[in-house]
Symmetry: C2
Subunit: 252 residues, 2 copies
DNA sequence: TAAAAACTAAGTATTACTACTTAATGAGGA
DNA sequence: TCCTCATTAAGTAGTAATACTTAGTTTTTA
């Protein structure tokens, strides 16, 4: 819970495989800041940007720690989670390049309601809450953009509420497979983002054994293939069809 | 799905029990517009406010209908829901005075992802999307306020995701009882908002029978009392204790 | 080659489904 | 205004389906 975790991450700047870029030359077209660079306020505030490197497995937002600012994921993959009863993780979402992380700390919250852990070596842009709030109070277009982002996140979350209360475990696992596949794509015939069975369970709201059992069944039905942790989708159409009745199409 | 439902509601202005008030003299301190009346842009735009009356049971937002604007609940109670598989309702939340309804239509959505039904005769303030967007693009404080509202809604929704995937049915029902009690208070020893067992089930993500069974059990344990539809909470502390491990405190 | 993760299977608990009875509510007519 | 009937909702119980727990073995990964 100590706030020094950010500094720890900041110091480790040895790895040169991740290239540092300023907002002006940043390749990340999906970034909200990049989209609003023509605004004077936004442009000024990018000067206060800090870069944070995270190694695989490193937690850069601690659940319950005071809110200091907002992160933009420049490169890498991150899982966002809440801790439940007996330490059981509820994975809220998986984030990729260009996405905002830590925005749940805004609002009335004093502390981050979520934790964030890098799933691979990642590069983050960081802006302090103070600086951000200044821009949000002066540039309505930027604020409106962030507001729309929240609105979309809210819709996604509520769709997930519905799916958790109305889908079976099998359906939720299929749904999770499709979500990860849609968002992160494939690589050599396998879903590009490699997750453990436990992580699938923590996202789908079930247990590791259930995930294993359902994946075994899907394998027997020749709908997927597996090789160790990696999962390949064979019949995307049939999997989609199985959950189509719930018309649950959640992008990103 | 026809857009004329609003006009139907608008015409029925016979009932005089609900008093019409303009934003300036409005008693609703919790309303976001009321809070921002000192802004010129907000003040001007309140002139475009329309008042809509809804009778008990009337649906004033149809799921899937094109987004036309935003509602502020001036008086009454409303349930917000999503329709799932086989017409099963998922109640997203119960809204009371001062709350915003239909905000889920903002974002990339073209149509309302939710439906809204009045649980009692209600009075709504309505603002068209066009007018609203104009203010949102000019007044950053108002936009920031709405953004914070979304941020809080997002937190609530994600807490609900966690509760659905980690709580038992009994816990979820207790949690729902506490939520409704906290939000709507008591009346003659019973929870002021009277809901059907089905509505409790649709909110808690279970079946009507399970709700009845759990309520019967709670009654036998002398934790609650019931009289017809009405439910009285006897031992608030014990009920709270039972779900305290999940540290699930969701206000409003 | 340890350690971690995947996988299997049996037993248990929980939850949903089906079918039914009983109580409460509301509308129309005397 | 009260009564009756129809309708709606509450409540009960047994069964089937689903999901979780536990305890183990095998495979994969670092």
């Amino acid at each position: 819970m100590l706030p020094s975790y950010q500094h720890n991450a900041l110091i480790e700047q040895k790895d040169t495989s991740l290239i540092t870029t300023a907002c002006g030359t940043c390749s990340n077209a999906r970034c909200l800041i990049k989209k609003n660079l023509n605004s004077a306020a936004v442009n000024t505030f990018t000067k206060h940007r800090k870069e944070i490197r995270c190694k695989k497995g490193q937690q850069f937002i601690m659940e319950g720690a005071p809110v200091t600012g907002l992160f933009f994921l420049l490169k890498g993959t991150v899982k966002v989670l809440r801790t439940g009863l007996h330490g059981k993780e509820q994975i809220v979402r998986f984030a990729k390049e260009g996405e905002i992380i830590g925005h749940r700390g805004f609002g009335t919250e004093e502390s981050y309601p979520i934790g964030a852990i890098a799933l691979e070596d990642s590069l983050l842009c960081y802006f302090s809450k103070d600086i951000l709030q200044e821009v949000l109070h002066t540039d309505p277009t930027f604020t409106y953009g962030l507001m729309l982002f929240y609105a979309n996140e809210l819709n996604k979350s509520e769709v997930k509420v519905k799916s958790l209360s109305q889908m079976t475990v099998r359906e939720r696992i299929i749904d999770t497979l499709l979500y990860v596949n849609r968002k992160f794509g494939q690589n050599n015939g396998f879903i590009a983002l490699v997750l453990s069975r436990r992580e699938y369970a923590d996202y789908a709201g079930t247990t590791e054994e259930q995930v294993i059992r359902v994946l075994s069944a899907l394998k027997k039905e020749h709908l997927i293939t597996t090789k160790g942790k990696r999962i390949g989708i064979v019949h995307l159409d049939l999997l989609k069809k199985e959950i189509s009745e719930h018309n649950f199409y959640l992008d990103s």
